[in-house]
């Protein structure tokens, strides 16, 4: 390695150190605590207990996050697509201003507003009843898994849209013009020309969202902490009510495995690009 490489490593090392000590270290600790028995040896009893009590919640977490990610993808493609291919300048400007608002609202505030918005007698139902779309008796409380999905999509879609719109804007306009001149509909241009080129950014955004959602404690705790709920609530419960770090860490590792599915998608795409 030449001098420049050493210099580079030296410059990057403080940042690496912080991540290593304050992130990787505790992760390793988590793995160790999850498999350490009372006598200090290896054991699977914590995982067994975690599965026995929380397998429903594991499935639930996976389903919620996958569903939310799909929803985020659809919304992001729709909005970013319109921003790139839309032709009405005032609508475009307004849309561009409008969609970003949830971006800067933290998860915890999102959870709070959704709590009162999605309740059985909350604002959403009031408006639906008031505009005659549903009957008062049909009003449902959305404060269950649907509320969690809605909160996640509401909060994360603008972020992915932002990334995607940026990537779509960087595409050479000529491709789009050419296709439109040939008579292709805008929808077709979106799916056959624009999206394939912005695919990588979309994937990055979705994977980041996928992983972020697995970590959120405030949303499930405030909207639906009762079973079935997300693993994060169970982890907090195990620690706060029972001081049970062992099972809590077993649950953490299960979370990690779920997240790695998302990361796997990204790595597969990156490898494909490296080959191309």
């Amino acid at each position: 390695m030449n001098r420049r490489s050493w210099a580079g490593l030296a410059l990057a090392s403080p940042a690496l150190a912080i991540v290593a000590v304050f992130f990787i270290g505790p992760l390793v600790m988590s793995a160790v605590l999850a498999v350490r028995g009372k006598d200090g040896g290896l054991t699977t009893e914590h995982f067994a207990k975690a599965f026995e009590y929380y397998s429903t919640d594991l499935a639930f977490s996976a389903a919620i996050v996958v569903l939310s990610t799909l929803g985020i993808g659809i919304v992001a493609i729709a909005i970013a697509g319109y921003l790139t291919l839309g032709e009405h300048p005032r609508t475009l400007a307004f849309l561009r201003w409008l969609y970003r608002w949830p971006l800067f609202i933290p998860f915890i505030v999102t959870a709070q507003v959704m709590r009162t918005f999605l309740a059985k007698n909350g604002m959403l139902n009031h408006v639906l009843i008031g505009s005659g779309l549903i009957e008062p008796l049909q009003a449902q409380s959305l404060l269950d898994w649907r509320g969690i999905v809605i909160a996640f999509i509401w909060k994360q879609a603008p972020f992915v849209t932002l990334l995607l719109a940026g990537a779509m804007a960087a595409i050479d306009r000529q491709h789009i013009e050419a296709a439109r001149n040939l008579g292709a509909s805008r929808l077709r241009v979106l799916f056959e020309i624009v999206l394939p080129q912005a695919r990588r950014t979309l994937l990055v955004g979705l994977v980041l969202s996928f992983v972020a959602m697995l970590s959120v404690l405030s949303v499930p705790m405030m909207i639906n902490p009762n079973s079935p709920t997300m693993l994060t609530v169970d982890i907090a419960y195990r620690i706060n009510s029972h001081g049970d770090y062992a099972v809590a860490n077993a649950l953490c590792l299960m979370s990690l495995v779920l997240a790695s599915f998302g990361a796997w998608f990204y790595l597969r795409e990156a490898a494909r690009k490296a080959q191309a």
């Binding site: 026995e52 009590y53 429903t56 709590r115 309740a119 059985k120 007698n121 909350g122 409380s141 404060l143 705790m221 405030m222 909207i223 639906n224 902490p225 009762n226 079973s227 709920t229 609530v233 907090a236 419960y237 620690i239 706060n240 009510s241 029972h242 001081g243």
Partner: protein
């Protein structure tokens, strides 16, 4: 370059002011009060106890911190004290702690608390069983109850014309009125936990053994069986997000009945968050209630001041004005001392819906710690699967 330099300067100044502690103008002692429980506990110390105590003791500042509701909050306090004990710290940074019974029991068992009740006058005025026994653990001398709270069913009489008077009647009632009853399970609040404990008490046929002991590990099967019917019951009810969740849904008319903390309920009515026509009742065979305890950590930095504070907080006048009148709790010290300091109207407000007799018959303590844990785990195993 300008915004960058400006930002840098601002950041450095902020860091500087933060890292340098300001010199106090007057020699001040800070009394650190750490309390578990809902926000109303922190408000109580911040808005009521603190200012009064500071007025009587110039040079003292009372600092109240909350650790969150339920046993989770007490667990955080336990972890803090335990860590300091393990590290061998000479003076701990918590002077007064307010904890639940479960937390207090663990702390006494691990010698984290200092005995103090004999040294304060209020110690003689708390003679109920709860001041000596915390879920089976002997805590005599280490605790003075701050208040006693009680779980009860709140119901909307406009919707629930004939409220069910017992657990058995409730189980029938929910089948005829699905989704009108709500409770918060065992996570997120003790009102739900109390409801589950009451269910086991009503259905396990163990009588007083749950509360008085002795602990018998083989009873786990009995507990499991009594909770099997709860799983069926849950199909007809709404699960709420917590103590406040139940009250919230009652407020919005989304449920008509649910277990609530009596004091929280009255505070909500006073705050305009609950329709004033909602009433309370205690079902047979009973619902639990619990005290929260004032405790002094073993190596508290300001132990003498802490004891003075607790003596002040547990005095009949403060109990009457603060605990009962303002915050709608049942008093921590014996009732007769407090009643003497109150006018009859305010005293009777506590007992509008639930008479002293009903309280005496159907207000139960929580089960022994070991049964408590067994019931919680059984709920997760049997009901939630």
């Amino acid at each position: 370059m300008r915004p960058f330099r400006l930002t840098l300067r601002v950041a450095l100044v902020a860091a500087g002011t933060l890292l340098c502690k300001p010199l106090p103008a007057v020699a001040q002692t800070t009394l650190n009060v750490v309390t578990a429980g809902d926000q109303n506990m922190v408000d109580y110390v911040n808005n009521y106890l603190g200012p009064k105590f500071e007025a009587q003791n110039p040079g003292v500042k009372v600092r109240a911190v909350g650790t969150g509701p339920g046993d989770a909050g007490s667990q955080k306090i336990y972890e803090k004290l335990s860590a300091q004990q393990k590290a061998g710290t000479a003076a701990w940074d918590t002077d007064v702690a307010v904890v639940h019974q479960r937390g207090a029991a663990t702390m006494v068992k691990e010698s984290l608390l200092a005995p103090y009740t004999k040294e304060v006058s209020a110690g003689k005025m708390a003679t109920r069983d709860s001041s000596r026994n915390a879920l089976g653990q002997n805590v005599e001398g280490y605790v003075i109850p701050m208040f006693h709270s009680q779980i009860a069913f709140a119901y909307n009489p406009a919707v629930v014309k004939q409220p069910p008077k017992s657990y058995a009647e409730l189980a029938e009632w929910v089948k005829k009125n699905p989704k009108q009853f709500g409770y918060n399970g065992v996570k997120g609040g003790m009102s739900g936990v109390g409801f589950v404990m009451g269910w086991v008490n009503a259905n396990a046929g163990m009588g007083d053994q749950l509360v008085k002991g002795p602990y018998d590990a083989s009873k786990k099967a009995v507990i499991d069986k009594s909770l099997a019917s709860l799983k069926d019951f849950n199909q007809y009810v709404v699960m709420t997000p917590g103590n406040a969740g139940t009250l919230d849904m009652l407020n919005r008319g989304e449920i008509a009945m649910g277990p609530v903390w009596v004091d929280m309920f009255y505070t909500w009515v006073a705050d305009g968050k609950m329709p004033p026509n909602v009433k309370l009742e205690l079902p047979q065979p009973g619902l639990p209630g619990q005290p929260m305890y004032y405790v002094v950590p073993a190596k508290a930095a300001n132990a003498a001041l802490a004891k003075k504070f607790i003596d002040f907080a547990a005095s009949p006048e403060i109990q009457a004005e603060g605990i009962v009148k303002q915050f709608n709790w049942y008093p921590g010290i014996d009732a007769q001392y407090v009643k003497a300091k109150m006018d009859e109207k305010s005293w009777n407000k506590l007992f509008t819906d639930i008479t002293p007799d009903a309280l005496a018959s159907y207000g139960k303590p929580f089960p022994l710690s070991e049964y408590f844990t067994d019931i919680l785990e059984s709920y997760e195993r049997v009901v939630l699967k």
